[in-house]
Symmetry: C2
Subunit: 264 residues, 2 copies
């Protein structure tokens, strides 16, 4: 099969934690045409399991501090329970899904984050050059849909908890080396909104040309800034376009598009 | 790559639960030449996790009764924690391992066992015809080593807990459709022993010709009978030979060989 275009889609906790939203998403994703890759976050399951096991959950700046017990919990939850549930649902919907951690087939190698200034424990960062595009190509050419969680490995036997948005970006940058790639972040809102309470205030296009002024005039709120930096970074490293949209709108051409330039 | 022979190896709890034994096994398995597939059981981790979560473990005739909470626990443990640990260790040892549940790439479809006479819950049985040999061939030809746990799916979104020995047999029967296949069961003893306390009493060859008399005179003990039935069944369905040996002896040509006939 000749690959003309690849879709990389990322879902997070807002879809995973809601059985009906997940079910709808699975149906839509299965119906998406052409080669595609799904990246999923973790949702609340890991925190629930930690609590049941009496392991304290420590978050610093929205990131989970991952000690030895916690890396086991997130590996069980993300790479085991959630990944296999999604894969089994996709298979039932006619999509030939195959689940991955970064260790599987050496799909994504990560580096353990330095313990200074904050020691996050078994947390990793990814260099998109360390995404195994040769493996992705083999799978996509065989009609397989990789489904990746955010547990990666360091190549020396250590599993590392990574940020699922960063995994999605790295995978999309890696798959851009195979064919033009579109990266979609499914989100709880219709996209990037000028007024966070008004779904009709969607900003249709963000580029390097208007990003700074949108930040400067406060249109883009705090939490969106790292997401947009991430998206612009992916666009700068070969991803054709990044879309931020509601999971419901996966198959509709709506949402906020992030590209390097409006001339692209 | 032209595939001439395939090795399928199964390890159980005696290797998985002992970090030093597992480490030694990983080194040996990584050094095994040619296309290969690993199937692993669960060990005590699932029982430990169930206990920590206050879920009662019920075993009937050595099989785990798998209710809704327990299928989550075994999916987390077998397909998550143990599978990813093994995959990361193999990757570190230079073996390009890729972890699987039966749902991944539809590798193994199973049928939920009928609730009569005993309702085991989310427990499945496998028809070797439902092993996806096309996928195995693609992976093995790419130099990938599949690492399968015993969690399978029914194709309709349901995950099922299967017997790891049966998964290994079914996978070996499936891979026999690609190339001649040797199936090795790593075991706590040197092989099938005439005297269970005497490692030197190894029975080197069991075939359909001597199996009945070995059973009749009591040489083969209770627990070995289903294992040998399973092995003879695999041999009858295309597996070239089945070996039962100590994990330490993986790379040595020792242990009990099970074949249909001594003339083979």
């Amino acid at each position: 099969m000749d690959i003309k275009e690849i879709n990389v889609v990322k879902i997070g906790g807002n879809v995973i934690d809601d059985p009906s939203a997940l079910n709808d998403f699975i149906g839509n994703f299965a119906n998406m045409q052409g080669p595609k890759i799904l990246v999923h976050g973790g949702g609340k399951e890991a925190t629930r399991l930690s609590k049941a096991l009496g392991i304290e959950t420590v978050m610093i700046e929205g990131r989970r501090v991952t000690d030895r017990e916690t890396i086991d919990v997130v590996t069980m939850t993300y790479a085991g329970l959630i990944n296999k549930r999604i894969v089994a649902m996709l298979q039932a919907a006619g999509c030939d899904a195959l689940g991955f951690s970064g260790a599987d087939g050496n799909l994504i190698k990560a580096s353990k984050r330095a313990p200074n200034p904050i020691d996050y424990g078994y947390v990793g960062d990814i260099n998109p050059a360390d995404v195994n595009d040769r493996l992705l190509k083999t799978l996509l050419e065989s009609g397989i849909t990789p489904v990746a969680c955010a547990i990666c490995h360091d190549g020396n036997g250590m599993l590392l908890n990574c940020n699922a948005d960063s995994v999605a970006s790295a995978v999309a940058i890696g798959s851009s080396r195979i064919a033009p790639t579109l990266l979609t972040f499914c989100f709880e809102k219709a996209g990037v909104l000028a007024d966070v309470d008004d779904e009709s205030s969607l900003i249709p296009l963000i580029t390097e040309e208007n990003f700074d002024s949108l930040k400067a005039d406060g249109t883009i709120a705090k939490g969106m800034i790292p997401k947009l930096h991430n998206a612009l970074d992916a666009a700068g490293k070969g991803v054709k376009a990044v879309r931020i949209c509601k999971a419901d709108n996966l198959l509709n051409e709506v949402g906020t598009i992030v590209k390097l330039s409006s001339l692209q």
